[in-house]
Structures are given as C-alpha cells and as structure tokens.
C-alpha cells in the first residue's frame, strides 16, 4: 500500500498593513482658531463694563466730600473775644452836718435871746437843720438822684456799650455768617461744579458704557438671534420639539427622517462581527443635493470592520433623500447606529 503525502503549505506575510490617518491636524487648527477667536470676542465685549471705570467715579465723589468738609467747619460761629468788665458804680454816704458851739455869755444874755434866739436859732437851727436836713435830704436825694442818674447813665452807657458791642458782635456775627454763607455757597458751588463735572464725566463714562453695552447687546442680540435660528433649526430636527412645529411640518419631518433611516438601513450591510450593544454615532455632512460629502464615526464601540461597514453604508446611501419642505433640510446629520437585537 502506497503512502500518500502532501506538501506543507507555508504562507508568509511579508508586509505590514498601513492605514492613512488624516484630518487630525486640520481639525485641531480649526478648533484652536475658533477658541482663540471666541476668547477675543468675549474679551472685547466685557471691556466696556470694566469695574475700573466705576471705581474712578467713586473716587471723585469721595474727593468732593473732602473738599466740602472745611466749609462745613467754617459754618461754625467764630470764637468771641472776652467782653470788657465794667466797674460796678458805688453810692457814697452823705456826711451829717454838725451845729456851731457859740459863747456862753452871749449865750446868757443872749440866753433869752439866745434862748429865744436859741429857740429862734433852734427853731432856725431846726429850721436850718430841717432846711439842711431837707437840703441834705435834697442834696442826698439829689446826690442819690445824681448817683442814680449816673448809675443809670452808667448803666445806660453800659447798656449802650453792651448793646453796641452786641450790635457789633451781631454785625460781626452776621458778617461772619454772611462770609461763611458766602464761602459755603462758594464751596457748595465749587463742590457742585466739581460734582457737576464729575457727573458729566460719569455721564460721559456712563454714556460710553451704555454705548458699549448697547453695541454688546446688539452683538449679543445678533448672536442670540443666530442662536434662536439655530435653536429653531434644531427644534425642527428634534422630535421632542415636534410639537413646536406645525402639524404639517412635523409630518414632513417625520417622513424625512423615516426616509433617511430607511435609506441608510437598506445600505448598511451588517457584518457578522456586530455584537449586541453596538452603539456608534456618525456625523454626516451632505450637500443640498443629498450627496454625502463626509462621514465621521465619532463614538463607537465596534471594531474597525464594523466602523468601515457603517461608513460604507452612509456613502452607499448617497445621495440621501431630500425633505419635501426645503426648510427641514440639514447639512449635518447625526446617525446613531444601535441595532435592536
């Protein structure tokens, strides 16, 4: 019996598989530019509202108050000189007038006479005395009166003096007051002027800020309008916002999405290597004609062959169906490959 043989089969792999990877650099560059540009824009928007400007206005206000402070002190009454001490007028007592001691003989002879005289004299004396007394009294009264007059005059003078002084004081006071008032007014005016100037400056700042704000607001408005437009576009795309659409549009959108889904599903040849739980996000860009211009498998838990099958499916589905309402068209599509087993 012959012994059959077969030759061993040897196959050697001699070259390595090579793949090309591109886009990385270009995408990174674009992203960097967008970020830089974004930062710049944000910076310029916030410049006008810089807190430094507000601080400088506040500083001026504080300064104005400092200037006003001395004026406020000037408003206080000036310290008065000590008033002259007028001596108190002293009333002098009137001295008693004494009677004359004449000769006794004469006194006898004249005793009678004298007596008479005395009587007379006494009477006279008494008269005189009375007279003197009266005179004295009168004198005293007069003196008193004079004294009183003098005191009164003094008093009056004093009074007048004090009145004059008071008047002078009052005048001075008034003058001081006027001066103070004047100065105050001046200060006030200066302050007011300064304040006004500051106000004007502040106003100017404010106006500038307002202008900048307005510009920013306009810019923001533009951005927000764009955002709103984008939002609207997204809403148009999003099922969850379908109620925001008119019923007719929602229907068209649903049909558009169904057509897209059907087209891609028919084009996707599922490799046997697809495991349960496959989930791949694919970014697709298309021309208004539906021609697929780019397919990027973003997040994907599948192997290279499955990714390739997905990429191929989208290209194979090209040109993609178009919506009946052109408003529903979107250049960018998100495809989620998640087979339900």
């Amino acid at each position: 019996m012959e012994t059959p043989r077969i030759k061993p089969i040897a196959v050697t792999l001699s070259a390595a598989q090579s793949r090309q990877s591109r886009w990385g650099g270009a995408a990174a560059s674009l992203a960097l530019h967008a970020v830089l540009v974004g930062l710049l824009a944000l910076g310029s928007l916030s410049w006008h509202a810089k807190p430094e400007a507000v601080h400088s206005v506040a500083a001026y206000v504080v300064h104005a108050n400092d200037l006003a402070q001395p004026k406020a002190q000037a408003l206080a009454p000036p310290v008065a000189d000590s008033p002259d001490k007028a001596s108190e007028p002293t009333a002098s007592e009137p001295e008693p007038v004494k009677p004359d001691n004449a000769a006794l003989e004469q006194a006898q002879k004249a005793a009678q006479q004298k007596a008479a005289d005395l009587i007379k004299e006494q009477a006279a004396q008494a008269q005189e005395k009375e007279k003197a007394l009266a005179l004295q009294k009168a004198k005293a009264e007069q003196a008193l009166a004079a004294q009183q007059d003098k005191a009164a005059a003094l008093k009056a003078a004093e009074k007048a003096k004090s009145e004059k002084e008071a008047e002078k004081k009052a005048k001075e006071k008034q003058a001081a007051e006027i001066k103070a008032a004047d100065e105050k007014a001046k200060a006030l005016k200066a302050a007011a002027d300064k304040k006004a100037a500051e106000q004007a400056l502040a106003d100017k700042h404010r106006a500038q800020a307002a202008l900048a704000e307005k510009a920013a607001a306009e810019k923001a408005d533009l951005a927000s309008r764009k955002q709103r437009e984008a939002d609207l576009a997204r809403q148009l795309a999003g099922e969850e916002h379908a109620d925001a659409l008119s019923a007719a549009q929602a229907g068209l959108l649903a049909r558009y999405k169904a057509e897209l889904t059907g087209r891609v599903q028919r084009a996707w040849i599922r490799p046997p290597g697809v495991r349960t739980g496959l989930k791949c996000s694919v970014r697709v860009t298309q021309l208004p004609t539906g021609t697929v211009t780019g397919v990027r498998v973003a997040e994907c838990n599948a192997d290279a062959a499955v990714r390739q099958s997905i990429e191929a499916a989208v290209y194979r589905a090209s040109p993609l169906p178009l919506p009946s309402d052109p408003a529903l068209f979107d250049r960018n599509l998100n495809l989620e490959f998640a087979p339900d087993e």
Partner: protein, 442 residues
C-alpha cells in the same frame, strides 16, 4: 479627496482669519448637532467588490491569483464580485485607479494587484484593497508565492480582504479533508482526500478498497485521525500529512469509530463497544495507546466531541429512546451526563464551534435530515439547511460557516452554509460520492 480639498481650504481661511469668519464659526457651532436618525437594522447582503485581474510580469502564470480571490470572496456569500464585463477600467496600480468609474458601477471595494518576480527570483503576489467610497487604501501587501503557491498566496490575500471588511478572520487558506467513494462493488475504492478549502489542489492521503471514514484534524493541523476497515475490522489511525507516516491507535474488538481530538491534541475520544455489543464512548491517549471507557450505559453512546475547554464531551445517545445530544462535563467516567437537545425526535453528531457557543447537529426536520445550529447553553436550535440528507457538519475555523455533505442527483457532494443559514454554496467536486468532510483548523 473632495473632503481633503475642502478641509485644507478652510484651514487657509482660518489662517487669514477675520471677525466675520469667527462669527460664522461661532454661529455655526451650535447648529452642528442636528438632525438625528436612529439606525436599528441592517441587511445581510453581499458587499459589492471588484477584483481586477492582476498584472502578470513575465507571464502568463499558471494560476491567476485574482480569480482565486474573487471565487473565495464570492463563495463566502458575503461578497458579490462585479462581473468583469462591467469594468470601465482594469487598473493594476494605485495611480491608474479612477474611483469615479468604480462608483459609477456601484462597487464599494476594489482589489488590484500584480503577480511579480521579485529580487532573488522569488515570485510574489502583490495586492491592494481600496474603499471606492472614500478612496482610502485599506490594504497593500506582497505575499511570497512559489510557482505552486500562487493559489495559497491568493487564499491568504482573500483572508486578509475578508477580515478587513467583514471583521472576522477569513478561512480561505484552510483545508478540508473528505472521503471520496468511487466505483461500484466489488471495484469500489475509498480515498481520503485533503484539498484547499475551495475544493481545489486535492491530495490523496489514503486509499483503500475497504471503507475509510470519519477523518478528524489534529488541533495543530498536521495530522488526520480516521477510521479504516482495511484490516476488515474497524481501526483508528493517525497519519501525519507531511510525511505520510501513520500509526494505529485503537483497534479493539468490536467497533472503533468516530475519532475526535482533544483540544490539546493528546487524546482521542472515540466510539467503542464491548464484546456484548454495548456501544459507549472511550478515550485513548494517542502517545501511549492507553484506553479508558467513559460512558457505561446500555443505550448507544456515540459520536463524541470535546468541549472547547477540553474538560467535557458531547456525544449522541439514545438512552432516552431517541438519539439526542448529551454533555458529560467534567469528564469523569461513570458520571451521569446532561441532556443538551430537546427539540425534535432526532439530534445527532454534534460539532462545536470554535468559541464553544454553538453546536451543529444533524436533526430531523419535516422528514429530512438537515443541519441545525444549537445554542450550547439553552439547547435552542434552528434548522439551517434545506436538503434531504444533509450530514457530517464541520465548522470552519472562523466559526462563520459549516461544511457538510448533501445529496445531489443521487450522489454526495460538499456544501457550505453560514451558521445563520443565510448563505449556502456547493463545492464543485470530481466524480464520485463525497462523504464525511472535515474542515481544518487555521
């Protein structure tokens, strides 16, 4: 290519950048995530590919590698090669590819190549795989090919193309063994044949006037175990393919059949019988010839096959009255095995997929014998062939398909079917009746 152009252009713009561009970018950013669509299904359809005949330097060569690759891909059922009549061009170098023309004829992938005589006078097959859709070069290799090895190089190329696109290792550069029966009694001849997986490049391994049966590949692919009745009684032989050297490992009295290699290649499980005719499963150590009886049941226990981890044996038993698949794991003699299949009255001759998740069995379906794929855990199965007598399933090493024998115009032929039953093909075969195919390991 278009994308590249657009990208580089926009980069230039950004370098020139102005506020307007910045605003455009800012405005464009929020609008990026747009219409979202869920893809929950795909199709099982062949992928459109074009394999352009390779340029042959100092030709013509005896074998056209491109046609071998093309046939491999087509037979897998996963690819639909474009008919050459539809080609608008036949490039053999990258620079001469006009992708637009290939897009026009709706192919997704393009294979070009050259059969060259390299330095040191060594022939080689160079091939390149391109995505027509993106223009990307997916593969580019040079495979050494002796004058008789262009076919092997082409199968290898097909494997790599298959793996790149399908994501599963190709099994084109593998082999099959089968028994070819020719002539009528008393001139009947049995031949054990080894061929390429595409049925070409056949070699006769053994030849006998008595039956040859049940070839089984050793796990390393160097040897075949098979049953021969050359001594009028059944015996199990192991033959090394490269040298033809062989030795008899089991020749006990009674039945010695259905050998199956353990995953470590050290043992063979087989069907044996006792003197009183009780058929059971035995295990033989190849190096020593030592034999151990594993099952001991009055019913027939036969057709053993190892679990992937080598710790258990599936086998067919009619202990329940009808043949069903049982599993004995761990492999302890005398233990009670667990029944695996319950669907239908007949499930026999199990084979295990390379990952152990599936069994292929012969099942009775609408009065015919057909193949079923059975989930190894649940025992749930589904019929995957449509023949009347589909027998001897054997898994491809990549687990994607099975080779089996079926009847065609009264004779046995080889067929393949994908494990899900969706793709089937027939292998052309010479005259005669083909039985017992076995697919080699990688």
């Amino acid at each position: 290519m278009n994308e590249l152009f657009v990208r580089s252009l926009s980069r230039r713009w950004s370098l020139l950048s102005g506020a307007s561009l910045m605003l455009l970018l800012l405005a464009a950013l929020p609008a990026r995530a747009d219409l979202s669509i869920q893809i929950t299904q795909g199709v099982t359809a062949p992928i459109a590919i074009a394999v352009v005949p390779f340029a042959q330097s100092q030709g013509p060569w005896p074998v056209d590698a491109a046609s071998v690759i093309e046939a491999d891909l087509a037979r897998s059922g996963r690819f639909a090669p474009l008919a050459h009549g539809s080609f608008l061009q036949s490039p053999s170098t990258a620079s001469s590819i006009d992708f637009a023309s290939w897009r026009m004829v709706k192919v997704d992938y393009l294979v070009i190549g050259r059969q060259v005589i390299g330095t040191a006078n060594t022939p080689a097959v160079e091939f390149e795989l391109y995505s027509v859709l993106t223009g990307a070069r997916l593969l580019g290799l040079s495979l050494p090919a002796g004058n008789t090895n262009v076919r092997a190089a082409a199968h290898r190329a097909a494997d790599l193309i298959y793996e790149n696109i399908i994501g599963v290792k190709g099994a084109f550069a593998t082999r099959i063994a089968y028994v070819l029966v020719e002539g009528q009694i008393p001139n009947r001849r049995y031949r054990l044949i080894v061929a390429d997986a595409d049925g070409e490049n056949t070699h006769v391994v053994a030849e006998s006037r008595e039956p040859l049966m049940s070839p089984a590949w050793s796990p390393d692919g160097t040897s075949l175990a098979y049953v021969s009745f050359e001594s009028r009684f059944s015996a199990i032989y192991v033959q090394t393919l490269a040298t033809g050297e062989r030795h008899r490992v089991a020749a006990r009295e009674g039945i010695n059949g259905a050998p199956a290699w353990s995953p470590d290649g050290l043992k063979l499980a087989f069907t044996g019988s006792t003197r009183d005719g009780n058929v059971d499963v035995y295990v033989c150590t190849v190096s020593s010839g030592q034999i151990q009886r594993i099952t001991d049941d009055p019913a027939i226990d036969t057709e053993p096959v190892w679990t992937v981890d080598g710790r258990g044996l599936y086998f067919t038993s009619d202990r329940s009255g009808r043949p069903q698949i049982y599993l004995l794991s761990p492999l302890v003699a005398g233990q009670k095995p667990a029944r695996v299949t319950f669907e239908g009255p007949y499930n026999a001759r199990a084979r295990v997929s390379s990952d152990g998740s599936q069994l292929a069995v012969i099942t009775q379906d609408q009065g015919a014998y057909r193949l079923a794929a059975v989930d190894a855990k649940s025992g749930q199965g589904r019929v995957i062939t449509r023949g009347t007598l589909d027998l001897s399933p054997s898994f491809a090493p990549n687990g994607q398909s099975l080779i089996y024998s079926t009847r065609e115009r009264g004779r046995g032929v080889l067929a393949t079917v994908s494990v899900d039953g969706s793709i089937s093909s027939r292998l052309s075969a010479p005259e005669g009746d083909i039985r017992d195919p076995a697919w080699s390991p990688f």
